[in-house]
Structure formats: C-alpha cells, structure tokens
Subunit: 405 residues, 2 copies
C-alpha cells in the first residue's frame, strides 16, 4: 500500500468530490448517501436557493425535507445563467470526480455544460443525469414529478380499492426510487473508472425505476391474457396469497402476510382455532385464495376483538409475519431506528431540534460520518471558492457583487 492509501479515512467514498446540482428529492437523496459514505459533496444552488427551499413560502416547515436530505453537504451559490458562473462550474468539474444533475433533458446542453463538454475537460468525470422519462424517446420532454410519474407508470392504477378511484402511494416513492437508482448508477461508473480510467454518462429515468416493482401485479395481467388487473386494496397484488391483508383491531390496524403453510397453522393456534387445521377448504394457500374473502373475514372477526399491540405481540410469539400499521409519529420516534443510528435528533440552526435520517447503506467497520446540519444558502462560498478552488478574497467579493455567486 502507498502512503496515500494508508492515511485514507476509513469511509467507502473518502477522497471523492461531488458537484451536486440536485434539486427537490431525487438528486439530493443520491448525494446525501454519497456524503454519508464519506464523499465531499458541494451542493450548488441558484442565488435564491434551490426549489425545495422555496416551498417555505407556504409554511416554514416546508424546509423540513430540505433539512432531512442535505446534511453533510457544503452549500455554495452559483448563477449558471452568467458566463462567469459557467466558467466556475467548468473549473470545479476539472477537480471533481462526480457531477450529478436532475434538470429536465437538454438544460445542461443549453447552458453549454453537457456531458460532451465536461467530459472533454475531465475525462475521468462520472456524470449522472436524473430525469423523468430519460434523455431520448418520444416522451423525453414530458414534465415529471413524483405525482405525475405515479400516474404514468401504473402505480396509481393498482393502488386503492376496486370500487374507488386510483390513488397515489402516500410516500414520494418515485422520487426516492429514482434517487437511489441514480446513486447506484453513478457509483457503478465510479467503480468502472478505477478499472478503465474513464468516466461515463449515467442516466436514470424516474418512470423506468418503477416498472420492476409492479411485478406481482403484472403477473396477474399475464395470467388474465391481457385483462387489466383490478385494484386490490390491501390484498396481494396478484391475488395469490391468503391471508394477506390489513385487518382492523379494537384500536388500530395490523397487516398479516401468511407466506408459508406453517404460518397458517401457527395463526390458527394464535386465534385459538386449532379445529380449522383439519378444514379441507383452508388446507393450502391455493385453496384459501379461492375463498379469500371468507378467510379474511374469519381473521378479522378475531382481530377486531383485541388491541393492536396485544395481537402483534401474540403473533410475534407464534413467528407469524405481521406488523402494526404505525403512524408517522411512532415511526419518527422508533426506538429501533434511533438505536441503530438510522435516525438522529440534531439541533438544526433554522428548525431547532429535529429528527434526520443518516443512511440506509451501512458499511460495517467503516467510521461514522458525523452529521452536520443542511447548509444555509451560500454558507460555504468562501471555503469552496477560496480554499478549494483557489480564488482570492477580492475575486470572491467581486463574484458576489456581480451576482455570480
């Protein structure tokens, strides 16, 4: 090992510098995970701040998601509509390993900093592009947000009850699915660069990250020879498992998913209905699927009589896959996730004491990246443009005066 590697911090992405043009959720989530793995992430915002900050006009709390997703980043401002701003971006790219952006297709090219230009400046650059529908194809220019892609990608058509309207998933899954895919594609190209010496353009389209997750429901479509699957409420998307549902208890809801026959007999024990083990109508999952509503009614008649947490404790003792339907306050205060360090309470300069996530990517044996709160607008201009890029104080002052940073 060389001296350089022996002094390397014990974090997977130590030494990597990321130019982060990400906005809202998709891009910022990807670069949060890079920062949490030890990379230096330079978050570039327009002088008025990135769009996720601007929602604060509706409510101060609207900056809460910004605080969740931008820990451990350096915050700088840069006006990409000024020629000097573009020059500075190019200069930074020359010293960086990764550039990430989730603008609409074509925006970076129009600014004169598309992949071709930046790759000529730094052939080792890994360039990550996150868009709604991709960089080519007939739907390329469709505007994309989590809500619209949930509609377009089929998720809404299979969420909700058969007799109700289509529904979105409550969480912004599409934004985050595509954010983590973007992270994954970029780091794959970073690995490849270590072998080949060359970076790549990596592209992720929001819509495409959703398709594989439709697997259960698509199997229904295949089986029905093209008949469109119904929404199934809380039942299995392929109507192929029973019991599989959400059941009301005396004070809330629980979900149960009977994956194996051994779970079914255990459930009958828990329900104190061992007599039903011999019932031929319920003998296999396939048979139970044929009388799914009857099976669900049987289970719920029992769950309704008991409190949520009592049933969950009982089902746990019987090793049956089940969980309480928890509300967000319970989730944010989850002992398990706090104990594991996935959630942390920090004192945020703008928002006060808040709970923020660290990273679901856990590298055993690596040093922990200590959480620093999300930056204020332009907080690290002097450090980045001065100490890192080498501009003088006078130059930096002029850039500020000229509206470039």
């Amino acid at each position: 090992m060389t001296a350089a590697t022996t002094t390397r911090p014990n974090m997977p992405l130590a030494g990597i510098t990321v130019i982060d043009l990400g906005q809202i959720y998709q891009g910022p989530y990807a670069t949060l995970l890079m920062a949490k793995a030890g990379a230096r992430v330079i978050k570039i915002e327009p002088r008025e701040g990135e769009p996720a900050r601007l929602r604060a006009k509706v409510a101060k709390a609207a900056t809460f998601p910004f605080a969740m997703l931008n820990s451990n980043k350096l915050g700088v401002t840069l006006n990409l509509k000024s020629p000097r701003g573009i020059e500075l971006l190019k200069q930074m790219v020359g010293k960086a390993d990764i550039l990430l952006e989730n603008y609409a297709p074509g925006v970076m090219d129009r600014l004169g900093v598309g992949f071709g230009v930046l790759s000529a400046i730094n052939p080792r650059l890994v360039y990550g592009s996150g868009t709604g529908y991709g960089l080519d194809g007939p739907d390329r220019d469709n505007l994309a947000m989590d809500l619209t892609v949930q509609a377009m990608s089929g998720v809404m058509s299979i969420t909700g009850f058969p007799d109700g309207p289509p529904l979105k998933a409550g969480a912004a899954f599409v934004d985050f699915m595509s954010g983590i895919h973007l992270y994954a594609g970029i780091i794959t190209a970073l690995y490849e660069r270590e072998i080949t010496g060359k970076g790549r353009l990596v592209e992720v389209a929001m819509q495409e990250t959703v398709y594989p997750a439709l697997a259960s429901n698509l199997s229904f479509l295949y089986n029905s020879k093209g008949e469109v699957p119904p929404r199934t409420g809380n039942k299995h998307g392929g109507l192929a498992i029973a019991p599989y549902n959400v059941y009301a208890t005396s004070d809330g809801h629980i979900s149960i998913n009977i994956v194996k026959e051994v779970h079914w007999t255990a459930l009958l024990e828990a329900m104190n209905r061992p007599d039903l083990k011999a019932d031929p109508r319920y003998a296999t999952n396939a048979l139970r699927c044929a009388v799914m509503d009857e099976v669900d009614a049987l289970v719920e008649a029992w769950t309704r009589k008991h409190p949520r947490d009592e049933i969950i404790a009982l089902l746990k003792r019987h090793r049956i896959p089940a969980a309480p339907v928890r509300d967000l306050r319970e989730v944010m205060n989850d002992k398990h996730m706090h104990q594991r360090g996935m959630l942390e309470t920090i004192d945020h300069p703008e928002l006060g004491p808040i709970v923020v996530p660290t990273s679901p990517l856990r590298y055993h044996g690596a040093d922990k990246v200590k959480t620093t709160p999300s930056p204020s607008v332009g907080q690290d201009n002097d450090a980045v443009y001065g100490d890192w890029l080498g501009l003088t104080k006078t130059e930096i002052q002029k850039l500020k005066a000229d509206g470039v940073i």
Copy 2:
C-alpha cells in the same frame, strides 16, 4: 493500460462474479442489475427452487415475476443443509467478488457461512446482507415482507383517503427500494475495494430505506408540533401545493401538479379561464392551498367534460406538469420504454412471449447485455460446478446423486 484491461468487455461490471443467494424480490432485483451491467451472476437455489418459483402452485403466472427478475443469471442448485453443500459454497466464495443474501438475520451464521468465515476465506469479498430490520437492534427478528414493512414503516398510514382505512401502495415498493439500496451499498464497497484491497459487510434494512421517502409527510408532522398527519388521498402529502391532485375526466383520470406560478397561469389559459388570473384568492400557491378544495373543484369541473388523452395533449402544449393515470396494460406496452430498450419482448421457454425489464441504470457508450431468459432450476450446474469450479463429471454426478446439488 495492461493487456488485461484492453480486452475487458465494455460493460461496467465486466469481470465481476456474484454469488447470488437472493430470493423473492429484494435480492434478485439487486443481482439482476449486476447481471445487466455485465457481471457474471450465479444464482444459487435450493433443489426445489427458490420461494418465488413455488408460488406457481397458485397459478402458473406466479412465475412471471421470477422471469422478470432473473434474466441473464446462471442457475445452479445447492443444498446448504448438507456439509458438502457448505464446502462448495466456500469454494465458490474463494473465486467470487460479491456474495448477496437476503435471509433472515442469523441464518448464514447458523449455516457456518457468516461474513466472518467467508471474509477469512476471501478478504476481497464484498458481502451484502438484505434484511427487514437490520442485523441488530430490538426489532431485528421481526419477520419482514413488503406488506408488513409498509405497515411498520408508516407508508400505509399516509396512503388512502382521510375517511378510509390505511392502504398499502399497490406496487411492492419496499422490496424494490431495499433491493436497489442493497445493490448501491454493495457496489460502493466494490469501489472501495479497488482502493483498499479489502471487502466489507454491507447491510441494508428494508424499513430504513423507506424513511427518507416520507419527507413531505414528515414536514407536516413537524409543522403541527406532533399532531399525526392525516391521510391526504391524492393531495400533496404536506398539503403544501395546489392544484395537486388526481382529477376525473370523461373517460379516466389524470394527475396535475402545479409546481410554479407559471404553471397556474398556463392552466387557466388551457381551461379558457384567463379571467381568474386576476382573482386575488388564487394569486399564489400559499393562497390556493388555503382554499384547496375549492381550487380542486374548479379544475375537476373542467376535466370532467373532456376525454383523458385530449386534456393531456392540451396540458402538454401548455407545458403543465400532468399525466394520464395509465393501467398496467398501457404501461407494459409503453412505446417509449420499448423504444428505449427498458422493456423487451422475449420468448421465454416456460412462459412464451413475455415483456421483461432490462435495467433502469443506463451506461452511455457501454455495450448492451443481450437478454437471456431466467434459468430453469439447476440449468447451469454443469457449467458452473464443472467449467468454472473445476469439478469432474463424476464428482458432479455424485453431488446430484447425493442430493447436494
């Protein structure tokens, strides 16, 4: 460059070998993306096949998800309950770069092939563990499936209408969110290995991959000082954008998300209601949020009168973020995704002509990995145990006869 690198196939993960113990969705999705990036993935199944195949007892179509997620993998059988099976696994690990498993916590240790043992055999091994709640903490041993983690993680509590029950997201988002996180963590450690020469244990817990996607809804919780956010149906999770909803048309539904003021004035143009531009009640997003139901009613009164695709075309001309709520048949036959190569129609030996996904991770300039259908059980036993691991035909025959493979 050395001779070895000049002859390297032009694919990011060329030369990487993956021992794939993945099952159902989480693990297999991660290794699908590795295979599609050029890695050699050896899918190890018990002699009766992995659980995703067994659902075929309910309906033949239940193997459709298996076919979607296991293209481009070599299929071998291995009995991990036999000492000789464990020996073979160790032997394979000695020649591999990555091992991935999504068993319950502790299973691999009990089999005698936990990270400590395998890492001693091959210190360069990257070991990826996917679980429901992680390898430690009080909830470690909770049984986890997509449905139960949707309940536990808070997703259900915010999906559905305020006056209805909690609902799951129709797609198996938790399985796939955690699958792509597992991919991401493993490849990050693979990158690090190129620098340090050492592999790592990488851990991903399903529940933890969901938390960041709750950002909008958690902001509501923060703002309300602890009051639990209501389900918001198809409205914005933080009730901070209007119009933002799903609207009925004369023949289906559409979603609209008015992100910027310019979209609002464009929408009024499209609706032929330019008179409302001067209405002070609707002048800003914050004001519109205050009368959200009224604004939604105004929009839907208009959408109800026109067919879905006609409105979408009109909104597109006005550059307004909107999308049709498409059903799964439309999605599976999506021209755009087929044209881009995200979806392909293949002739599957068991299922006939089916549509399968390739990879949402697109590496510009790389060679395309030609799709081969998911393997049958043990299809590649001879190739893997013979050609790759170096066992003789006689040895392989004995392993089969002894129930080891």
